[in-house]
Amino acid sequence: MRALVWHGKEDIRCDTVTDPEIEQPRDAIVKVTSCAICGSDLHLFHNFIPAMLPGDVMGHEMMGEVVEVGPEARGKLKKGDRVVVPFTIICGECDQCKRGNFSVCQRSNRKKDLADKVFGHATAGLFGYTHLTGGYPGGQAEYLRVPFADATHIKVPDGIPDEKVLFLGDIFPTGWQAAVQCDIQPTDTVAIWGCGPVGQMAIRSAVLLGAKQVIAIDHLPERLEMAQAGGAITINFDEESVVERLNELTGGEGPEKCIDAIGMEAHVSPSMPDTVYDRAKQMLGAESDRPHVLREMIYVCRPAGVISIPGVYGGLVDKIPMGQLMNKGLTIRTGQTHVNRWTDDLLRRIEEGQIDPSFVITHTVSLDEGPEMYKVFRDKQDSCIKVVLKP
């Protein structure tokens, strides 16, 4: 089959690879009908999260049709089922899974020893996301093996187009959880840093959950325009001071809830000197992430407020204002998304027409064009916000 394969820094190729095969009795094989490139794939593209190996298949946002089912997954899945595959692989039986903390499933990471060493305790297996999270081949491919498939799937009905449900596997629940962990009150201002795909979903989620105002921060005009379309007030950080503007919009008090939909690769600009400092340290290997957004959020957030971090961080950050964080009594909520905890509810909201996540798609191409689209998406060319691939 064909698949997008990681070969090194900024080197992703559309290769011919062997087809995946059922390995464990709970596995299933899915024929991928749609998949997408995620912002967090760019961290791998840049090799900022170590533990990728040449030959690893990329992709963790995918859906398709079940074509083969292992003997122990048969009760829950059958050939022909239409499924969205969550990016977190879950056993559904361990203590964490039972609590709904799916992204830290204790059994799905098959490289547990490595992950235990690096993270202290292993987190769930993820598709196409380094050997720290199991080294599972991803779904930017024609076929995908789904481990623990009896639990790791979201069934979707026929008759609803791929584009409307594809993002149930990652960015929609990710934006949703980011907003949910803010525990949004009708009096709250929610500020969201980053208007990429997850930021856009977080904006919609905060609007749906009834925030008083939602403020979105970016500097790309097309992304700000999309944010505005979704009901956000926008701040262009190239043109105005984020802190000043946020205070202005909140009567000088600061937003109660802040969402970081940027993560480890904050935009670098001489007008934000800390980003240049981080970039230099990152190049020398002295810091893995650029936490500009985190610093800004801690600074501007209203005391006793909440900081929610769906943006991916990889390792070590520097110059975090712990004094502000502690004295202001801020709550920080983080985590990879517990996808399956939200998807039944979100699928219903899509079916009822409350939201249609396909609004974020700006490019639909074939798998062969995938490598080039990584570049276009990374360089934000052609007003690219979300790329869907059709294997």
């Binding site: 290769d15 979704g230 934000k380």
Partner: protein, 199 residues
């Protein structure tokens, strides 16, 4: 190719690369990569054995300067190999200027190694040309073209409109483990129902 080695370690049912297709790396990126590694190599040489350079060029006594250039060259290399490679290549062009100026000072008539300096100058000029071509190509490949971006004004994501969407999911119950610090209402007398919220 590297993937042959990692193929061996892959589990039985995992896809293994049979043959490679088109890459996201363009010609400009490959040139940047080559020039980046060239910088690293040259930088290490200048740092480790500066006397080789000074002797060949008749610039004895300038070892510290060559070492400093070595550090500079490593900087060019690291940036050229990073995602910000256009910065790296343009910094190389600037560095080439510095190298040329330094070599010109050694083109004195009384320098017995004048011929070597001439060869070095020609080499640096050639590399400069390559750096300029590479820097331009990389900049062109990765910059956002000017002009109006596409309009996403109608991309609300809400089939029933933004107004209808505001608060449409207030029916959603935030799970207990994701509730935040209590709001003002939770400890005020005016909102006992808030205080009574189940935990």
């Amino acid at each position: 190719m590297a993937y042959y080695i990692s193929n061996i370690a892959r589990s039985k049912g995992d896809p293994k690369v049979l043959h490679s297709g088109p890459s996201s790396l363009g010609a400009a990126d490959r040139l940047a990569k080559a020039l980046g590694w060239f910088s690293i190599g040259l930088g290490i040489a200048e740092l480790v054995a500066p006397e080789r350079f000074t002797r060949a060029l008749g610039m004895e006594g300038k070892e510290a300067l060559v070492r400093a250039y070595g550090v500079r060259e490593l900087g060019h290399g690291i940036v050229s190999l990073s995602p910000d490679k256009h910065v790296g290549l343009w910094s190389r062009v600037a560095g080439d200027g510095l190298d040329i100026a330094t070599l010109m000072t050694a083109m004195r008539h009384d320098n017995p190694k004048r011929d070597n300096v001439g060869i070095a100058l020609a080499a640096v000029l050639g590399v400069t040309l390559l750096d300029i071509v590479g820097a331009q190509a990389v900049t062109a490949r990765h910059s956002r073209p000017r002009g109006r971006p596409r309009s996403y004004r109608d991309r609300t994501g809400f089939p029933q409109g933004v107004q209808a969407a505001r608060g449409a999911a207030r029916d959603f119950q935030v799970p207990p483990d994701m509730r935040a610090a209590p709001t003002l209402a939770a400890v005020s007398d005016r909102a006992p129902q808030e205080r009574a919220r189940p935990h």
